[in-house]
């Protein structure tokens, strides 16, 4: 089955992974800006990174028939440096017209601090000013519930935001309902140990019906599995779910959400 991975960090993966993903049915992916594993020291470091996301990765992906899209921001893990964050936010418009940029992301919170909140709000302003969709990271482990609620508070307080253009990612059992109930899209990340397994994701799809729900691997430089979405497809098939439901979650829903971005020019595999 053709599928789309809406959140995967290919800058940290090998070219072999592109080949494997293509063989597994991946036809498109989107790559939010991410923390490199160390705090970058200058705005030029981010400018180079954004060139990698908008120039290099689309070419690497295209070699395997995969369309690559991206989102730009300074990640919450680097947001304690408010001054650098503001410089990066001011620089981002240089890249918003690049043909694979879908919006601002993955913005969010990590430790739920004042500085992270300030930088999050300034990213929201950037997105609104430039009419961009938004992809949001929610913190992990014990910080997730509080951080998700804080993020939803900030989003809900801003009447200018179109909630159908906001994806709140890394939801789990204790956060998914509120994200969906408030009208946002929700993303489930399939991740070893610290996030959601394919089995738990299948449970949540069964409980919610799959509307406004996306599933991703987040594949990055840490413990992760870039082929986690096919694992979910396998689990849903094993449980006897209809192909139409599976396709909705791993293909139709990403296309519907991404289509809210003016730069999303997706070509289905069978398009002439």
């Amino acid at each position: 089955m053709d599928y789309i991975d809406p959140h995967i960090h290919m800058v940290s993966r090998t070219t072999d992974d592109y080949a494997t993903l293509a063989r597994m049915g991946c036809v498109a992916m989107s790559e939010p800006a991410f923390w490199a594993g160390y705090d970058r020291g200058s705005v030029d470091g981010f400018r180079d990174y954004f060139r990698q996301l908008t120039e290099t990765e689309p070419k690497r992906a295209a070699a395997y028939g995969i369309q690559h899209f991206t989102w730009l921001c300074i990640n919450a893990k680097e947001a304690e440096n408010v001054s650098l964050s503001r410089d990066v936010i001011a620089m981002i418009p240089e890249f918003l017209d690049a043909p694979n940029v879908l919006g601002i992301g993955e913005i969010g919170l990590n430790k739920n601090t004042r500085n992270e909140s300030i930088v999050f709000l300034e990213h929201l302003e950037l997105a609104i000013k430039h009419n961009q969709s938004i992809l949001i990271h929610t913190p992990h482990l014990e910080d997730k519930f509080q951080g998700t609620r804080m993020i939803l508070d900030m989003l809900s307080d801003d009447q200018r935001l179109d909630r159908t253009r906001v994806l709140v990612d890394h939801v789990e059992e204790h956060t998914i309902a509120e994200v969906l109930d408030r009208g946002f899209w929700a993303g489930m990340t399939l991740y070893p140990v610290t996030k959601c397994t394919p089995e738990r994701a299948a449970d949540m799809i069964e409980m919610t019906g799959g509307e406004r729900l996306l599933v991703n691997s987040a594949g990055d430089w840490g413990p992760s599995k870039p082929t986690a979405v096919p694992d979910l497809i396998f689990e849903l098939r094993r449980r006897g779910h209809r192909e139409s439901l599976i396709k909705k979650v791993v293909y139709d829903n990403p296309i519907e959400f991404f289509s809210k971005s003016s730069n999303f020019k997706f070509k289905p595999r069978d398009a002439s």
Binding site: N112, S117, E142, K144, F145, Q146, E173, G240, L245
Partner: protein, 89 residues
């Protein structure tokens, strides 16, 4: 949505669940053996062990939504006053 019979769900999950329970039992045994040297757990680590014990008790309750309640057990409490506490306008 397409809920399968409980007999099937439990039957196909039985060995996975058994394996996970065995892993938990082995970890708790490992901790106990290490404690036999007389060095107590640090306070913050002891709190984590208590959380694990609370979670195990929660699993045995008959109420629904165990996964959600376990997640909340391991979560920080949400403070609706976070904006004023952090001084974020």
């Amino acid at each position: 949505m397409n809920q399968r019979p409980a007999n099937i769900v439990l039957e196909e999950s039985f060995l996975d669940v058994r394996a996970k329970i065995l892993e938990i039992a082995a970890v708790l045994d490992r901790v106990d053996r290490s404690l036999q040297d007389g060095t107590p757990l640090d306070e913050d680590i002891s709190i984590r062990r208590d959380k694990i014990h609370d979670a195990i008790r929660l699993l045995l309750s008959e109420e629904p939504d165990r996964a959600e309640r376990v997640q909340l057990l391991f979560s920080r409490k949400y403070s609706p006053a976070w904006r004023s506490e952090l001084k974020v306008d």
